[in-house]
Symmetry: C2
Subunit: 211 residues, 2 copies
DNA sequence: TGGAAATGCGAGTATGTTGTTCATATTTTC
DNA sequence: GAAAATATGAACAACATACTCGCATTTCCA
């Protein structure tokens, strides 16, 4: 696992100086992820987040100037986490099946904490106004990791550009995980096995007829 | 294509008798799908739907007793549509690749009109209170169609139950389509080709090592 | 053709929801 | 022990929006 980084969240109203307040901020962001995942963007109210964090609403506004800056903090934390998972599974030279297994295990683990956070962040929540750069950057890095893996494990064929393949692969995996999360089936080992098989089958390119 | 059925929407306040009012109701439901897809559940307001339909808010409430009954009408229409698509692609005896191509074409067509409606219906919108049966029934039929296809095209193997395979397959396809829809890439032929290949590869079961 | 039934209208209301502030209280630091 | 940091939560202002109701217009049909 990668080392835990402790960058300050962006757009904070005030920097927490003492250990107590640092824990408070962390609790708020964590609660934000929890509420967002459980109640969706519609249920993501500042009062609810504060209550979930076991903190007064006033405390929340001491550190976050408004609702959107809190959303951005949650988004950033989650994206950093997911990226580190993919990074870890891609490093080193391993056989295809091993790679697929570690990727699936990692993605499932990353989604086990807040099962639908990822989708809510991508679909429901408003895109981060100010720094669209950050959002785009995540998408780019995310795809790049998949593209690298595709390039490494899939023999080049004519008429199939890397980017599309990477997109299809990543969105298929996300679809399966998202769907499983909604049914509380993320832990089922049978599902993991099948997902690994799907990845291997696609990348090793079987089932093709002609040429 | 299947025959157009004209069942009355459930939970209607008043039955439209003349042709004019039947068109009005249809416009309202269509507008509902449009708003839901474009603005999400959060943006799905009765006033907005009425305005989009080019109809007064009073007219809307003449036929739908409340907001949720309108949602149910939209949901039902969409589910009926998707089911007919899958049904059509599954009938007859065709080779795997042909089946996959028609399925992909149909699913993409079904999502082209209201790209994110399906996800919004499943994820954001509240599950239909009264008739949970209808919702469950859709899920069951939906999965059954996939399970049938899986049974037909995938040689039986030990340790892989049909239901899980069907779930993995359907959610992978939905994931790809949903993701493409968000990027306005549904029409890209390269994407369709890759999705077909993913399905074929998985069902023909290549890339497996041992046993 | 005329009256009854069906359909359509939209300003207005009533009822909430919620993001945010601020004066005050408690805790930590040095 | 005082100053700085941190926490509190009642209160509010602003907004959103589901839904009603009295009336206008159109269609039907005898």
């Amino acid at each position: 696992m990668s080392t835990r980084i402790a960058k300050p969240y962006p757009r904070m109203r005030k920097q927490p100086r003492q250990a107590r307040s640092r824990a408070t901020v962390e609790a708020i962001v964590e609660a934000g992820a929890h509420v967002l995942s459980g109640l969706g963007w519609a249920g993501f109210t500042t009062n609810k987040v504060a209550e979930t964090a076991g903190v007064s609403i006033g405390t929340l506004y001491q550190y976050f100037p408004d609702k959107l800056s809190l959303l951005e903090a949650v988004r950033r934390r989650h994206f950093d986490h997911v990226l580190s998972v993919i990074r870890d599974s891609a490093e080193g030279q391993k056989p295809l099946r091993k790679f697929a297994q570690e990727l699936v295990r990692g993605m499932i683990a990353a989604h086990s904490i807040h099962p639908t956070l990822h989708q809510v962040l991508l679909d429901e929540a408003p895109g981060d106004r100010g720094s669209r750069a950050a959002h785009a950057s995540f998408q780019t890095q995310y795809l790049n990791h998949y593209a690298t893996a595709v390039a490494a494990y899939r023999k080049p064929r004519k008429g199939a550009d890397m980017e599309t393949v990477a997109r299809v692969l990543s969105s298929a995996i996300e679809g399966v995980i998202h769907n499983a999360a909604r049914r509380n089936m993320l832990a089922a080992p049978e599902l993991q096995k099948q997902l690994v098989e799907l990845i291997c089958a696609y990348l090793s390119g079987a089932g093709r007829i002609g040429r």
